[in-house]
């Protein structure tokens, strides 16, 4: 092979024209379209014009032209390309590095003319197969395209219906908005007198409560006076008062005489009338004797509670009740210290609703009740109207969302909306819900994995509707979030035909649908466009 003369190995191309065979000579590897640049016996100019060489250096197995054009039929140039005619099938260009490399690339075997490789001419067979498959494809495309027209029609109808619906909903919404506004006014009007009547009622109740409280206080004062007046002389003296250490104003543990005198307003003793003013200053601390022993420190139970309870509980326990009804409770404690008798000390606060029950507010009078009822009805009406408005709003939103989807140039993909398509493999069931999500569920138990949520159309620029992209699925260990690419091909049926995971956590789904079927060229065109004459 070293000194094999490869000069101008001319290939004989069998060309069919009007049924007659004509032989056209040209250097090996040159396509018909470039034949005129290779004229025998004339110097050859590299196709890039870079230099001119004697014609016997064309295909002489040495690369003279930078663009490789002098060696269309040998492997000498790194950037050359070889043309196979492939009569009976499709002509092709192959990189010139595949000439005589021992591998049959051209179905007409012309690339392996000096490698010892035995190649079979398979062009006719390939051509036949291709024609068959083109025919089949054309059939599918034709039928698919018809279906697509139907889909477009339906989508258009659907779209119109939706538009109509939307308009309806929008006008409904408008009506509802007005209604809501009107009912709001009604409600507000009804609530004004209701509020006043309620306040009135409440105030009356407060006053009554105050009276009761004062009476109770008086009774307690009287009781305390009797208790304190140990010698029953009608006076409470300093000495008598001193038996109640809980009254110690500076809480230093001893109730001195001076302090006691101070409590008595400077007097040595007081009678019932003067006791009234003394009472008001001691009643907060005063413990009736029946409940005052042992005079245990108030803090102890609290500390115990903190110690015994978990940190968490003890930290939050008292606060849980703070603010809610603390004031009320304290009020009532003040009102009814006796009521506390058999209760836990006040620092360990247990919810206590008993007083409320005992001292519950009396029912509204008929007039107030009437106002309340009226207001309630107005409120209910208003709420209902508002709910109706929200519902309509939701419907509008979902309609708008649907209408807003890019369902293709003629909305031919609209029919996929809110549908799901499944494919079962040996291990999993894959589920594609177009414009929504892709998921995978193990066949034999196990939870579903999200393989991606609708992202966008992701085909090539000239055909963006050929590919759907779903992303932001469940995350992968050390990897990205799962995502799925769905390739759409023309088919009569809408079906997921295959799934795979070409790269970790990146799924590929093949999906056929009539919606991507293109208008088929006539069969004649399809065949002739692919076969060199």
């Amino acid at each position: 092979m070293s000194l094999v003369k490869l000069l101008l190995l001319m290939s004989l191309a069998l060309v069919m024209r009007a049924g007659a065979a004509v032989e056209i000579q040209r250097p090996r590897g040159v396509p018909l379209s470039k034949r005129q640049f290779y004229e025998e016996e004339k110097p050859f100019t590299c196709l890039d014009g870079s230099r001119t060489i004697p014609f016997d250096r064309v295909n002489d197995d040495y690369c003279d032209c930078k663009d490789g054009s002098d060696e269309p039929g040998t492997a000498a140039c790194p950037n050359g390309s070889f043309h196979c005619t492939n009569a009976g099938f499709r002509p092709a260009f192959i990189p010139s590095s595949r000439i005589n490399d021992g591998i049959c690339d051209c179905c007409d075997t012309t690339d392996e003319y000096n490698s010892g490789a035995t190649c079979q001419n398979t062009c006719r067979e390939l051509g036949r197969k291709e024609r068959e498959s083109l025919q089949k494809m054309a059939e599918v495309t034709r039928e698919g395209f018809m279906l697509k027209q139907q889909l477009i029609h339906e989508a258009k109808k659907g779209q119109e219906e939706k538009q109509v619906k939307l308009t309806e909903f929008q006008s409904t919404k408008k009506g509802l908005e007005e209604k809501v506004e009107a009912l709001r006014t009604v409600k507000e009007i009804a609530e004004e007198p209701e509020k006043e009547a309620k306040e009135r009622h409440l105030k009356a109740w407060e006053e009554q409560k105050e009276l009761i409280r004062m009476e109770k206080d008086k009774a307690r004062m009287a009781e305390a006076f009797l208790e304190l007046d140990d010698d029953a002389d009608g006076y409470v003296s300093v000495a008598e008062l001193q038996s109640h250490p809980e009254l110690d104003p500076d809480s230093d543990g001893s109730l001195t005489e001076t302090e006691t005198q101070g409590l008595l307003g400077g007097a040595d003793k007081v009678d019932t009338t003067a006791f009234e003013s003394v009472w008001s200053s001691i009643k907060g601390k005063y413990l009736l004797e029946s409940q005052s022993d042992p005079p245990a420190p108030v803090e102890t139970p609290q500390e115990e509670a903190r110690d015994l309870g978990s940190d968490h509980d003890s930290d939050h326990y008292p606060e849980d009740y703070a603010g809610e009804d603390e004031d009320e409770e304290e009020d009532e404690e003040d009102d009814d210290p006796e009521e506390e008798e058999d209760k836990a000390p006040p620092t360990v606060r247990t919810p206590e609703k008993k007083e409320d029950d005992e001292m519950s507010m009396p029912p509204y009078d008929a007039e107030t009740q009437g106002l309340v009822d009226a207001a309630q009805k107005a409120r209910d009406d208003f709420d209902e109207a508002e709910r109706a408005l929200r519902e309509v709003d939701d419907q509008i939103k979902s309609l708008e969302k649907e209408i807003g989807f890019d369902f293709g140039p003629s909305a031919e993909f609209a029919y996929l909306y809110s549908q799901c398509y499944e494919l079962s493999t040996s291990e999993y069931v894959y589920r594609l819900c177009p414009f929504n999500r892709v998921s995978q569920k193990p066949k034999f138990g196990g939870s579903e994995t999200n393989l991606g949520l609708w992202g966008q159309w992701a085909g090539p620029e000239d055909n963006i509707y050929a590919v759907m992209k779903y992303d932001h699925g469940t995350g992968c260990w050390q990897g990205p979030n799962r995502s799925t690419t769905v390739k759409l091909t023309c088919g009569k049926e809408t079906v997921v035909t295959s799934t795979s995971e070409p790269s970790r956590c990146e799924y590929l789904m093949e999906f056929t649908t009539p919606a991507v079927c293109q208008e088929p060229p006539s069969l004649e065109e399809a065949l002739h466009g692919h076969t060199e004459l």
Partner: protein
């Protein structure tokens, strides 16, 4: 392939989560420090200058082949036997064993290719303090000092190397356990003694040799207990290297080429381990261990080969380390400098001291000396030097076909596609997953049709499954490694519960090799080759992710031979591939674990690296270090195994990998796909170009490997190897040489605008291989770079053959013509070689079927002359073009053939770059010819 993945069940998952969460770095806690390896701790605690060893000169015996001498430990009176050999080729071998061990101690077999031939030693003088021996014909002397025992090797007046000069020789003799196991209070007592000994530490600690220390008879690391039935058995010896500031070798570590001193840090560790996400720039052990260290100074290159396969630690200290350049200058100016000196110390857990001192004096000599001991690089099939496409995992046959197709579509050549563990049926090696790879033979035939090949993984852990033929055969033949209690050792690995065949058993290896026969390995064909991973061995639930040291291989503990297990796996596998072809075809086997001698069996890669720029950089010192100690066929996963590389990193890695010996892209299961065409047309073009440069240069690569195979010279070389006087090169590991003639400084910085390459050789010239621009040697050259730049220079004075017609695989290029690149030296001289054979069989060796020619340019005449007259081979390849760099314009170029025929050659002269191109000499590459420029 990986250390760990998710699909290992919940327990491992949990373990993993703990292990990898947060950071990407190695979990150091999984691996021992010297302190945690009790023998290392004990040995390292010894202080220099207190050697208890004394030579008993009266026991001296000197025969024709060796000297023997007894040593005594004056502390415990245990005697050692020293054997000293002068080996042919300027080497000295020192063996030290117990004179009368309780039972034999392990001596590593199968590493030396033969019993090294000896030369006679002669006694020159002797007195009561020692003796002087003559080492061969040179002016070399060996001085034996008696007390303390010490050896010095002198040449003239210079000490080249001393043994035990720091008195760190320590030999833990075999002993009978004294603290009886039956003593229940033993543990307590021990603690007490420990406490006591802590208090009295330093007083006379070394005197009482029999003292029982923690970890002598049992050692626990994490949850694993090592039963140590033989007790303490470690050995240690120190070496001093006067005049030496640079030491290299002892791979495998992810560290700089020049070894660092270990004072105050961890020693370099040699213990084959599967390290998950290894860290760079530290002395931690990795997958392989070659206990060979080279020392180098402008005066001399030497080597130390510590033949021991047990866990080994190496300490390095230097009296100049830490001195600033200014300090060193000051020493020099004031003349007060002490001689620089490097001290090294080797510590091994068991076995004997068996050390080969290779005295050089040149780097080439040391390579030849080491090769004479352990053999040379296996000569790989040519295709193995081409590009390999790997991924964990190519999913199924369709995936393989699609990737194969992708390479053709994007016109990128490749030779091998690889299948990782998922290809097998449930990780049962030698089988195929019936769903994913139902027709392996058809798949392989499909690749064969494209003249391409495949590698499938076969790991040494065998799934314990009675219905799995490989397992049941190994079990029934008793070929599994045993646990300490005598049952088959079992551990957890990819397939789940696994057994580990005892590859140290020659019968086991023979059986294993027979499993590669085409009728045994179902679905295999001629173009299927093998990859041995996890052969440290990796045991997921073992101590330090490897095998228990008290596991049993016949008469020996795993402890004794751990580091050589991986070598045996590759040895048996390579043997299998040879046998299946009836001894005709050269094997190709890749291994992750290795030991001294592994170079004889195939290729090595640097394991599970990561897609990070530093990992790209470390590929250079890691492969250079391996090259220095015999393993030329080295590479790193292109792109990085863990994590996902940026397109820039991936491109730079291809550009670097294209100029490293083993060129394979690989990726972790959980990373996004990264076939070369997935990063846009620009990056595809950049990768295509890098791969094509590799293919064009295959003739040179092949020739370098032929050389490595014949002589042991490394393929990828540190600069100092070729420029041993040039101190500027001594620490250089961001560039390298391929053979002598190509200098590569790959771009390994992110966003690089330029690199500074050092062109060595005062008075030499270098030619940019892409632009042909000439640069002077002996300078730092700034080279502006773009994404397409791969700075490579051809040495003036060299001739490199290329095949510039790059095709889709190397086989397709077999008969293609050569282009010769003649780079003239300033004296207008150049020399090169051309080696050609069939590319895949042993015929080059057995039938001398090869072409080996000298190409020389001198006196304006370029000629091709036969270098191997006894050989015979015909090639269809011819000389297509001759490119002469640094030429002047001739008036006439004449091609002369031996039969007297003459013809004029057309030529082209590029005056701007002084490049002369001779058009189409057209002569056959296998014949004599001459071209005369006039």
């Amino acid at each position: 392939m990986a250390a760990f993945i998710v699909r290992m069940g919940p327990v491992l998952m949990l373990w993993l989560a703990v292990c990898v969460s947060g950071s990407w770095a190695v979990d150091r806690g999984n691996f021992k420090t010297c302190d945690q390896s009790t023998f290392c701790k004990r040995q390292r605690a010894l202080k220099p200058g207190q050697s208890p060893y004394r030579a008993l000169l009266e026991t001296l015996e000197l025969t024709n082949t060796k000297l023997t001498l007894q040593l005594i430990n004056d502390n415990n009176k245990v005697r050692l036997l020293l054997e000293l050999y002068r080996l042919q080729g300027n080497m000295t071998r020192v063996k030290i064993n117990e004179l009368k061990p309780l039972k034999p101690r392990f001596e590593v077999p199968d590493v030396l290719i033969n019993d090294p031939p000896t030369e006679p030693l002669s006694l020159l003088s002797q007195d009561e303090n020692g003796m002087v021996l003559s080492l061969g014909a040179d002016s070399q002397r060996l001085i034996v000092s008696a007390k303390p025992f010490r050896l010095d090797i002198m040449e003239g007046r210079e000490v080249l190397l001393s043994l035990n000069s720091r008195g760190l020789l320590a030999f833990e003799h075999l002993r009978i356990r004294k603290d009886t196991l039956a003593d229940p209070e033993g543990a307590e007592k021990k603690e007490e003694t420990d406490a006591a000994s802590e208090q009295t530490e330093g007083e006379e600690a070394t005197k009482e040799d029999e003292k029982v220390e923690d970890g002598m008879w049992e050692e626990t690391f994490k949850s694993h207990t090592d039963s140590k039935p033989n007790g303490p058995t470690s050995i240690s010896l120190d070496f001093s290297l006067p005049g030496v500031e640079h030491v290299y070798g002892i791979p495998e570590h992810a560290d700089t080429l020049k070894l660092k001193t270990t004072d105050g840090g961890e020693p370099y560790r040699l213990y084959n381990l599967d390290v998950f996400q290894y860290e760079l720039f530290n002395p931690m052990a990795l997958y392989g261990a070659i206990p060979v260290m080279l020392s180098h100074s402008p005066q001399r290159t030497m080597g130390l080969f510590w033949l021991n396969a047990a866990e080994t630690w190496v300490d390095i200290s230097s009296n100049t380390a830490g001195k600033t350049v200014f300090g060193q200058m000051l020493d020099y100016v004031q003349g007060s400098s002490e001689t620089p000196q490097t001290d090294v110390r080797w510590i091994s857990e068991s076995g004997i001291i068996d050390v080969f001192i290779m005295l050089g004096p040149t780097p080439t000599d040391v390579f030849a000396q080491y090769a004479s001991l352990t053999g040379t690089q296996a000569f790989p099939p040519l295709a193995a030097l081409a590009y390999h496409q790997c991924r964990w995992n190519y999913n199924d046959q369709e995936d393989v076909a699609a990737v194969d197709q992708g390479f053709d579509q994007h016109d990128i050549p490749y030779d091998f596609i690889w299948l990782d563990i998922e290809h097998a049926d449930g990780k049962r090696y030698f089988t195929w997953d019936p769903h994913k790879f139902p027709q392996p033979k058809e798949m392989l035939q499909g690749l064969e049709d494209k003249r391409r090949k495949m590698v499938a993984i076969v790991d040494p852990h065998i799934k314990v499954d009675n219905s799995y033929k490989i397992h049941s055969e190994i079990r029934s033949r008793g070929f599994y490694i045993k646990n300490k209690d005598g049952g088959d050792y079992e551990g957890w690995c990819w397939p789940g519960n696994s057994g580990y065949p005892d590859f140290t058993n020659p019968e086991m290896r023979a059986w294993w090799a027979s499993m590669f026969a085409y009728d045994q390995y179902e679905g295999s064909r001629e173009n299927l080759y093998t990859w041995n991973d996890m052969n440290e061995p990796s045991v997921f639930n073992g101590p330090e992710v490897t095998m228990h040291k008290d596991a049993v291989h016949g008469n020996w503990e795993h402890r004794d031979l751990h580091n050589i297990y991986g070598l045996y796996v590759q040895m048996a596998t390579a043997e299998g591939l040879i046998q299946r072809s009836g001894g005709v075809e050269r094997p190709f086997v890749l291994t992750r674990a290795f030991f001294a001698g592994s170079q004889r069996y195939g290729a090595v890669w640097t394991g599970d690296n990561a897609a990070e720029w530093d990992h790209l950089k470390i590929t250079i010192p890691m492969c250079l270090s391996l090259g220095l100690v015999g393993v030329s066929f080295c590479g790193a996963d292109v792109g990085g195994f863990f994590k996902s590389p940026s397109p820039e990193l991936l491109v730079r890695w291809y550009q670097t990998g294209a100029y490293q010996p083993f060129f394979r892209a690989h990726a972790h299961l959980d990373t996004p796909r990264r076939e070369p065409w997935l990063f846009g047309p620009e990056n595809t073009a950049l990768i295509r170009e890098a791969v094509r440069q590799r293919y064009a240069l295959l003739p040179y690569w092949y020739q370098l490997f032929y050389h490595a195979h014949r002589t042991g010279q490394p393929v990828m070389r540190a600069l100092w190897v070729e420029y041993p006087q040039d101190t500027a090169t001594f620490s250089m590991d961001d560039q390298f040489l391929l053979g002598r003639d190509l200098l590569v400084h790959p771009v390994t910085e992110e966003g690089a605008r330029g690199v500074t390459a050092y062109l060595p050789g005062n008075g030499e010239v270098w030619f940019d291989v892409h632009t042909f621009q000439k640069h002077n040697g002996g300078q730092n050259l700034y080279i502006p770079v773009t994404m397409s730049s791969i700075p490579v220079f051809q040495r003036g004075g060299s001739i490199i053959p290329r095949k510039v017609r790059v095709r889709r695989s190397s086989s397709c290029m077999e008969h293609d013509p050569y282009t010769l690149y003649v780079a003239l030296s300033p004296k207008r001289f150049a020399q090169g070689e051309l080696y050609i054979d069939d590319g895949h069989t042993f015929s080059y060796e057995k039938q001398k079927e090869f072409i080996y020619r000298r190409l020389a340019f001198a006196n304006n005449t370029l000629s091709s002359r036969n270098l191997a007259p006894g050989s015979q081979f015909t090639t269809l390849s011819w000389i297509e073009k001759i490119v002469i760099l640094g030429a002047s314009k001739p008036s006439k170029v004449t091609l002369k053939m031996p039969d007297g025929k003459e013809s004029q050659l057309e030529f082209d002269f590029d005056a701007s770059m002084s490049v002369l191109t001779l058009r189409k000499p057209g002569v056959n590459a296998g014949v004599d010819w001459t071209v005369v420029l006039q």
